[in-house]
């Protein structure tokens, strides 16, 4: 049933796993900080291949998951206006706000449109001059430049009815905040390959230099991830701590300078609230003064309900890697993918959603 190519893949995987087993002689915890890695790890069945002494935990790498309730509440409030069209990535639709969700609003007729690219918002804006199109700009450094470029394109096109509601977040400050809090035991990091394609290797150096933690920038295929874990195992075994790059075919040491320039042109850093981590200084992006006319909150008045957090929700601890989804009392009982209480369960990439969908990783068959 299985062809040669798959056989080769499996043999390679087994050898890597055996090497990791040989190199790691005590329990270690490796944190992956990218929601796409969370899903890739589950989808590939890697957990079952890794030796039991290697534990992979998920950190705050799901931008949807770390979006605080007040942002959702603002978006939902905007969606109540007759003359507003909300454009958003699909991921955001089922995220619960304090009392509703964009999906629920869409079900009762709010004009909320799913886009694959923020640029689609501009076509919609051009086609609906009497309406205000607000793009929900969520995502890390991989996506933020695409939103920034879209603002520049809106400027070039002379559009005056396009706005951005920004909730962009930056990864390195979050990593620093995690380590500063000191309550998470981690022996190494799998770093997000596509965020790194933009920011390069430099922003992660502090992990090795200040915290003496090994870190490897990893791609998203199963062998990429296994190879990255192997590289971490080698470092741990040798007592080393450096930032390495497994994803050389995409991540250049300097990242993508053009993308970063465009980011700086449109955005500026700001403090941001991360669900579960609280406020982290300079960890978010907001539209800067030169492009203020595209900032939704600065230009469009809106009445937002008082933000309430979900009682009993332990998304924060899950995001910090303190507890596993199964340790949250709401997991799988009250909080399930069809009726998520917290964003960890909503986003396909959310740790809890991935656990629920793909099982805790061990197949008992």
């Amino acid at each position: 049933m299985v062809n040669d190519q798959a056989e080769n893949l499996r043999k390679t995987a087994r050898v890597l796993a055996a090497e990791i087993d040989r190199l790691i002689t005590r329990p270690v915890r490796l944190m992956e900080v990218c929601g796409t890695h969370t899903v890739a790890i589950f989808k590939s069945g890697i957990r079952q291949l890794l030796p039991p002494q290697v534990e992979l935990l998920s950190g705050p790498g799901c931008p949807v998951c770390v979006t605080a309730n007040d942002y959702l509440d603002s978006a939902i409030a905007y969606s109540r206006s007759e003359d507003v069209i909300i454009t958003t990535f699909g991921d955001m639709l089922r995220v619960p706000g304090s009392s509703s969700s964009l999906g629920a609003r869409k079900a009762v007729g709010a004009d909320i449109r799913i886009v694959y690219s923020p640029l689609e918002s501009l076509d919609i804006a051009a086609a609906n001059p009497a309406k205000k199109v607000i793009f929900l700009a969520v995502g890390f450094e991989t996506t933020a430049p695409t939103a920034a470029a879209t603002v520049l394109a809106a400027e070039q096109a002379g559009l005056d009815n396009f706005y951005v509601l920004s909730a962009h977040k930056l990864v390195p400050p979050a990593l620093r905040a995690l380590l500063t809090a000191g309550d998470v035991q981690v022996d190494g990091f799998l770093l997000p390959g596509h965020v790194s394609a933009i920011i390069g290797e430099e922003p992660y150096r502090f992990l090795a230099e200040e915290y003496h933690l090994p870190a490897v920038i990893a791609g998203f295929g199963p062998l990429d991830i296994l190879q990255a874990v192997y590289m971490l195992a080698e470092q741990i075994n040798a007592g080393k701590a450096v930032v390495e790059n497994q994803y050389g075919r995409v991540v250049k040491q300097a990242g993508n300078p053009t993308a970063r320039q465009i980011l700086t042109k449109v955005y500026k850093e700001c403090d941001a609230t991360w669900r579960g981590l609280g406020v982290i200084a300079d960890s978010g992006l907001t539209i800067n003064d030169n492009y203020r006319r595209y900032d939704a909150l600065a230009n469009l008045p809106v009445e937002v309900e008082e933000t309430r957090e979900q009682p009993g929700c332990r998304c924060g601890e899950v995001l910090r890697g303190k507890i596993k989804p199964a340790e949250c009392p709401l997991f799988g009982t009250v909080c399930v993918p069809e009726e998520p209480l917290g964003s960890c369960m909503v986003s396909v990439e959310g740790t809890c959603a991935a656990w629920y969908k793909y099982g805790a990783g061990r197949w008992q068959g």
């Binding site: 087994r14 069945g45 990535f89 629920a104 990439e349 197949w363």
Partner: protein, 336 residues
Amino acid sequence: MKDDLILLAHGSGGKLTHDLIDKIMVPAFANDILADLGDGARIDIQGTKLAFTTDSYVVKPLFFAGGDIGKLAVCGTVNDLAMTGALPRYLSAGFIIEEGFPIADLSRIVQSMRAAAKEAGVLIVTGDTKVVEKGAADGIYINTAGVGEILPGVHISPQKVCPGQDIILSGSIGEHAIAIMADRHGLTLPQTVLSDCAPLNGLVREILAVVPSVAMLRDPTRGGVATTLSEIAAQAGVGIVVEEAAIPIRPEVSAVCNILGFDPLYLANEGKLLAFVDAGDSAKVLAIMQAHCYGKDARIIGQVTATPAGRVGLRTMIGGVRLLEMLTGDQLPRIC
């Protein structure tokens, strides 16, 4: 989110759809025949065993690469009957048409239905036409109901699924869903990607003629292969393990899934079937399928196991095993 409103996700064929049927319809209509919840109802009228089924078609766009709502309406119901182990015979066709709909389009759709019915060897013997005001019915909705004779000696049922059996998939997955969605997401597909919409009763008849003891047949439509396998595992109380490397998928479909973030195992197919057969019969069934135009890419993709009961596992490319669950809600394009 709210318990009191229907969401689009209730129609996607996954868990929410099942919950809706279990909580609202089944208790209200309560009877043994319905309780089976197979693709079609099995009816016994004074010794004559019949299969009876219905389906409504609301697909958008109405015309897509490889077919249209008309072809779908005929093939879908024909296939449901075939999956019950029946010879499809007669269909009804109900049309709900929006005011202002071009008659030329209606004609085109009806011609598609004629062609599909001809290929399937069924007659459309009765129907109904309603017109609703502009704004309702999104162009046109079609309902078809069908009746067929259950083949002698054939008893298709989840109860007949047991450990050790092979699971055969008749061909590559995801093509119908991609043909429908590509346009919506600004992707240009090559001519090679068409909806796989097709009547499978001919193929099923050939299989059952040689191996009447086939335990189970089902076409993986809404919710895809993963959802269908989950349903069967749950209904039969068995475990299922499938090999990721064995599942046929075209590179174009794979590419679209990678770009938009879809999982092909959850995408709808309209011209494929899953067959559960005793290991001793699989070579025979495979040969029959591969010799037929609608089964040339047929593969054995997995086995039925005793445990864990009700669960479906996917052995991945690198040899790990992950759980496959029923589809929850709609698959939305992701960037994350």
